[in-house]
Structures are given as C-alpha cells and as structure tokens.
Symmetry: C2
Subunit: 334 residues, 2 copies
Amino acid sequence: MKPTIRDVAKLAGVSISTVSRVMNAPETVVESKRLKVLDAIEELKYQPNSFARGLIYRKSYTLGLLVPDIENMYYAGMIRGMQDACIKLGYSLMICNTDRDPERLLSYIDAFHEKQVDGIVFASDMLFPEYYDKLVGCRIPFVMVSSHCDEYDIPSVEVDDEAAAYDAVKFLIELGHKQIGMIGFNHANSISGPPRMEGFARALKECGLEQNLEKVKYASHRFEHAYEASHELFSEYPDTTAVFCVADEFAMGTISYLKDRNVLVPGQVSVVGFDNIRMAGMFIPKLTTIAQPIYELGYRSAEQLHELVTTGSVKVTREKMKHKLIVRESTRER
Amino acid sequence: MKPTIRDVAKLAGVSISTVSRVMNAPETVVESKRLKVLDAIEELKYQPNSFARGLIYRKSYTLGLLVPDIENMYYAGMIRGMQDACIKLGYSLMICNTDRDPERLLSYIDAFHEKQVDGIVFASDMLFPEYYDKLVGCRIPFVMVSSHCDEYDIPSVEVDDEAAAYDAVKFLIELGHKQIGMIGFNHANSISGPPRMEGFARALKECGLEQNLEKVKYASHRFEHAYEASHELFSEYPDTTAVFCVADEFAMGTISYLKDRNVLVPGQVSVVGFDNIRMAGMFIPKLTTIAQPIYELGYRSAEQLHELVTTGSVKVTREKMKHKLIVRESTRER
DNA sequence: TCCTTCTCTGAAAAGCTTTTCAAATGCAGT
DNA sequence: ACTGCATTTGAAAAGCTTTTCAGAGAAGGA
C-alpha cells in the first residue's frame, strides 16, 4: 500500500498539517521538524496523492490532445513541441489518437471530461458542431492547432495556408512550368484543403495560367491515395510537368507513382510538397516543400491553452505562424 | 462550476446515494427514480469526478508509456496498438517522450507516480538500474516492449532480434553477396544492438564469410548518423556489395549516401532494413526489411501490463513475437 | 512577574464519490 | 390486521490532501 501523509506524519512525529506545510510552505515550519519530515518523506518515498490534491485544487494539471493520426510524422513533430511546452508549464499531456473516427473522438472527449483535464488541444482538422457542442457542454477550454474555426471565437495557431500554397505554386511558375497539377485534400473533412486550393488558383490566375485550374485531384491523407490520385492526374493530363502536393506524404506518393512509370523527378516532372516533415529531407529525391514550423506550432498551442486555462481568455485569438519555401531536389527549371 | 452528484440528487429529488447507485448498480433502484436521475444527469451533463473516484478505488485507469523518440515511426506504430488495447481494456494512456534523456525519463516516472498511473510500459531500450530502482521504489508495476531485462524478471514482449538479424543476413548471402557490411546500434545504450550483431555474425560464420565480421559501423538511431556511418563503411571497404541495417531509418540513410555517391541500389549494392515501419514501403526503392509486428507489439504490451496490474503477475514473462522477412526492391542477386 | 504579540502547530472541515449499515417502505401470507 | 421478509432508500464514513482557525508556546516589553 502506498504511504500516505499520515504515515509520514507518524514517522516524523508530527501532525499531518505540518507535513503538508513542509511540502507547500516550508518556511512556516521550524527547521528541526522540517528536516525530520523531509527524512520521513525520503524514507517512505512518499508522493502526495494527486487524487486528493485534484479534489481540492479542482485542477488536474493535465492537458488533452486530440490528433487524427499519430503515424503521420506531421503530428509526431507537433507533439514534441507540445510536450516540451507542457514540461515548462507544469502539465502532463494526454495524447489521444482518433484515427479520424468521429465516434472515437467523441468518446475521447468523454474520457477527458471524466479525467478532468484542464484543457484540450484540438488538432483534428474540422471542428464539427457536434464536437463543439460537446466541448462547451463539458465546459472544457480548448484551442485549435493547424486549424481554426470561423463560426466561433476559438483560439488557434496555424500557418497561412492560402499564402503558403500560393508561394509554392508561384515558385513552380517561376521555374518556367506551364502545365501544373495539384494533389489536394478532400474538401469534405479538411480545414486546410480549401485555402490551399485557393492559393493554387490565385497563383495560376495571376500568371494567366487558368487552364490548369481543373488539374486537381484529391486524396485523403495517405501515401496510397496520393499514388492513386497522381495516376488519375497523369492519365488525364499527361503533359503535366509540375505537381503541387498539399502534404509531403502526397509528394512522396506522387513521386513513387512517377518512378514506377519511369518518369524522372525532377528531370521530367517537378514536385513540391507541404509541411516539411522530418522525412522530407530523407526522401530520394529530397523534397522541395513548404516548411511549417511544426515544433513551434505544437509548443505555441500548448502555451495558448495554458493562457486560456489560467486567465480565461487569450490575447491574440487567431495566431498565424510563418511558413517558408525550402528548395531541395524534387524541383527543377523547365 | 462543474455539477456534482449533489446537484444531480437535488434536481432529481433523491439522495446522492441513489444517484450513485443509478450509475453503478442501476438494477437496485426503482425505475421511476432511475429515470428521473438519468434525466438530471443528462440535463446537467454530469460526469462523475474522477478524483473522488480515484481516491476510493485507488486506481486511475491510466497507463503510462515511456518512449525514447516519438518522431520515430517505429514508436508511432506501437502507440497505435497500445492505444487500441487501452480502449478495449478501459484505460487511458499517458504518452511521454523521453528524447533519450535520462533526466527526463526519471522526471516522467515521478509524474507517473504522482498521477498514480496503474502501470507503465517501458519502451526505452535499456533498463538502467537507476530506472529500475526508481520504478520499484514507487511500487509501479511495469512491462517492457521491444526490450527485456536479464537481471530481473520483468514481463516483456519483443521479437527475436538475433534470429531476425540472422535471417536478414542469410538472405543477403543466399542472394550471392560475399562482401557484406552492417550499420548497427551503438552498443552502449541499446538493447537490441548486441543480439542483432550476433545474428549477423552467426550467419557469416555459418557460411564461411568471417572476413566481414569487422565491416560494422555504428550509428545512433537517426538517419544522419547512418549516413555518416555508411560513409565510413564504404570508405574503408569500397568493395562492399550488401549492407545489413538494423533499422529502416538506417537503411534510408545508407541508400541516401549511396545515391549521393551515384551508387545504384539495388543495382550495385543491396540494402536490407529492419522494423518495417510504414515508410519502408514508401521509400524509393521500397525497402527489403525484417518486419516486426509493430502494432501487435504495442497491443500486446498493454494487455500484458493489464494482466500484471490486475492479477499481480503475468503468465509468460518473456514473450517473443514472430518477425518476417519482406523482400521488396532494395536488394538484388549478386 | 505578567501581559502582549508573534510564531508555530494541530484539529477539523472541505472537496466528491462509493459503500456500508440501518431504517423505511412495500408486499405477501396467515 | 399483523408479522415477517424483501426491496429500496438515506445517512454517514472512508479515502487523502489542503487550508482555516484557534490554541499553545515562546519571546519581548513593561
């Protein structure tokens, strides 16, 4: 049985109040007793029971995180940032992988509610009304990362997807490409799908390349789907010389497809990715991509949640972070 | 303020005991009252306070996981398995990323102790005495995954590293390779380093290829190190035609190095990896590798921990799972 | 020496739930 | 109608900590 504060008190020959004070306000107890208590704590390896504490403080010092896919390196990087922030701020982090299953997401919210997490970071793209209602019903403060919400005023951190996509496509155009395709996210369940599409369109229009507007195929998050999608793209538009992919994993899928068709990248077709996950620099060819500050996004979102939890609101609600084009080896002048 | 059981009781016009019973033993309360209570719960969105419950049950229904590197896809896959098992068994999972920092690991154990997790899955290779002492000091049951412990009788699940390495190298030999190198884990901080080395050696000896025994370079877990290590390997032994890498990420590093030197894989050099992380099938060329049942390893370890936590012991303490050679495109006959 | 003031300590309450135990209610049988 | 039994309900305790409040003791001043 785990030792309690009573055991420590008995061993040290003091009352439980004194033991408690040694831990929470050491300066108020006389040195001789304090030392005895400290010894007793050490000897019993006493650790205050967080249930009892939680009951009193009404805080769990735990944050919850909802991610759609933990096997996606994008989220893995974000988690690192969040966890570092949590250490700094004194929280534990409870990570839940929804696998993009709404049922599962909802049941995780219940679990968070029951565990009394102090707040939730919502990294699962779309905030459906169902989720929103549940969250506010449970009165759990939450923030969004790499996502946002138009209807309600939810704090969020993300990158400017439209501008980032614009930069990527503009880069392709400046390289001399005229036949440009895109592998995008299915709009239905994606927050960043539409703005990235818009960025693509804006760059095209600005340069009089409207004929490419229709060269868009959609995939849903995974390599295999992107592989499929590029098959469709190149079957329909065989003269495409550049592809903008809205995720690095899509870029990999596209390049794999091309490779299987003996099309050289970047020799014959240029591909640019998005996110700059760790793998982007390890792939062959190394991916030219739009870098998101992934770690910082995670870090910042935890800070933001802390701010929300402690002060009840957040200074800047819809924060944007800077993206950056990283030119590596998957693109070439036309 | 969150509603408590009192609020529910008042709203439903019954005592708190009745409310509690509705939740924990519904058949003992008469239907009319039960319905009223259920309505009240619904209306207030009442969720029992897990601190109070934890205090009584002395269980948190939370498991802790210690991983060395969450950005490593190997662990990401394992986490999915664990989390699925946790859902099935009614636990929450608290994932902590140690970044291979002993300080950090120790402080996470403290956090787990304070949070009263019911048990810990230890996925960080080596169980140093320091860790062991702390864990038993805290009286927290724990199991190991993809690792084991020789000194003490700790439940664990893993693959037979020696046999798996043997299979990989044997495969290379059967392909006709005679000059075989290896990129291994630094022994100092790795559990699977030595047995994989032994498997390599056994295959070599069995086939009279002892001259390769010295063609081993070490890297520490990341792509870049493996890149460096293969540079050393090929500088020293330029006639090497096959490399056994003890991790898929090492294989990628090796292939990248070779690519940068214009050496064809598998044309001139064959490379086999280890783990079969998701990325292995996405890389170019697709990796021939030893597949570990990553998801199952995670799943099983959580089950094992549950067994340990509930019954106090585990039927089979040192469980082995089957590996399998998967031949893809990074290897070729000599 | 006695009183005041300050420092330090312990008892008790609060925080929320589950569970035990006793009381109350309902019902059947005589 | 009354006894006895089963069913249902409520009061209270337990689980562990923090915090408030009051009291004890010490120190200092008159």
